[in-house]
């Protein structure tokens, strides 16, 4: 699973900054058929959680309406330097996470 997370180079204390995440994932809808006509089981990343120093700051529930290789951009604020942890889990139970250190400048 290839994951890319981008945050701005400069994060100001208490100012919102954007987090962009792209995860390589098929986001299988469960409506497609394979070559022998059987339904391909649904497998989407259904939950994505962002925690900042252990505190949950953002949570998204995704469905099959999200395009393959899901991309999300959202905003958070940082009161102090810390670690942003993004974690997600799909229908097959495969979980992933990414830790991004955030340095806050005044």
């Amino acid at each position: 699973m290839v994951v890319r997370v981008r945050i701005p180079d400069i994060v100001r204390r208490g100012q919102p900054f954007d987090v962009r995440i792209a995860i390589q994932h098929v986001m299988e809808t469960g409506y497609r058929l394979d070559h022998s006509g059987r339904t391909i089981a649904r497998n989407v990343i259904h939950t994505l959680v962002a925690r900042y120093d252990g505190v949950e700051v953002y949570r998204a529930e995704l469905g099959s309406g999200i395009a393959a290789n899901p991309y999300l951009q959202f905003w958070i604020t940082a009161p102090a330097s810390g670690v942003l942890e993004l974690s997600w889990v799909d229908d097959a139970g495969v979980a992933g996470s990414e830790r991004v250190p955030v340095t806050v400048r005044d």
């Binding site: 919102p16 497609r32 900042y52 529930e61 309406g65 899901p70 991309y71 905003w75």
Partner: protein, 167 residues
């Protein structure tokens, strides 16, 4: 001519059968299949939300406004359509957006994404890429910290629909 056409139809049918028997892969369409697949007039845009919105808000009243949905007016490909939802909010502890929900009334699963924010989010904005099952009106709902619900919408013409194509 009138007496001629059923013969023609049967001949084509037999020809198709022969081809299918020969190669084993040519699909056999019964006569009239083309007519059966002709699309009927689609329901008006956004007609499905009368049922979907109360389900998403658990019956709470929804007012139009404060929510902007940015989406292309024309999407060539329904497999990946960029969308941005912006909600007007101060995003303070006493006045912020609690959740943002994006709905589709033409997709097999109406809830595309639901996001929970908080005062820590700083800005009530969400961008992503979605799948759309044909031309439709997408609708975003925002739940505020005072319990009120607001909505915004965008119409997207989709030339090539995502999903349900069985491929």
């Amino acid at each position: 001519m009138v007496a001629d056409s059923p013969m023609k139809g049967r001949r084509r049918h037999l020809l198709a059968l022969a081809l299918a028997g020969g190669s084993g892969v040519v699909p056999v369409l019964p006569p009239g299949a083309a007519q059966a697949q002709m699309p009927t007039a689609p329901p008006p845009l956004g007609s499905g939300y009368a049922l979907l919105v109360p389900k998403a808000t658990q019956g709470a009243p929804v007012r139009a406004g404060r929510v902007t949905v940015d989406a292309p007016a024309l999407a060539d490909n329904g497999h990946s359509v960029p969308v941005r939802i912006v909600v007007q909010s101060a995003m303070r502890p006493d006045d912020h957006v609690r959740s943002i929900t994006l709905l589709s009334d033409r997709n097999p699963r109406p809830v595309i994404v639901k996001a929970w924010l908080g005062p820590r989010a700083g800005r009530a904005e969400l961008s992503t890429r979605i799948r759309l099952n044909g031309t439709q009106r997408i609708l975003a709902l925002a739940e505020m910290s005072d319990g009120s619900w607001w909505s915004g919408q965008a119409d997207v013409v989709v030339t090539e629909s995502a999903c349900l194509d069985g491929s």
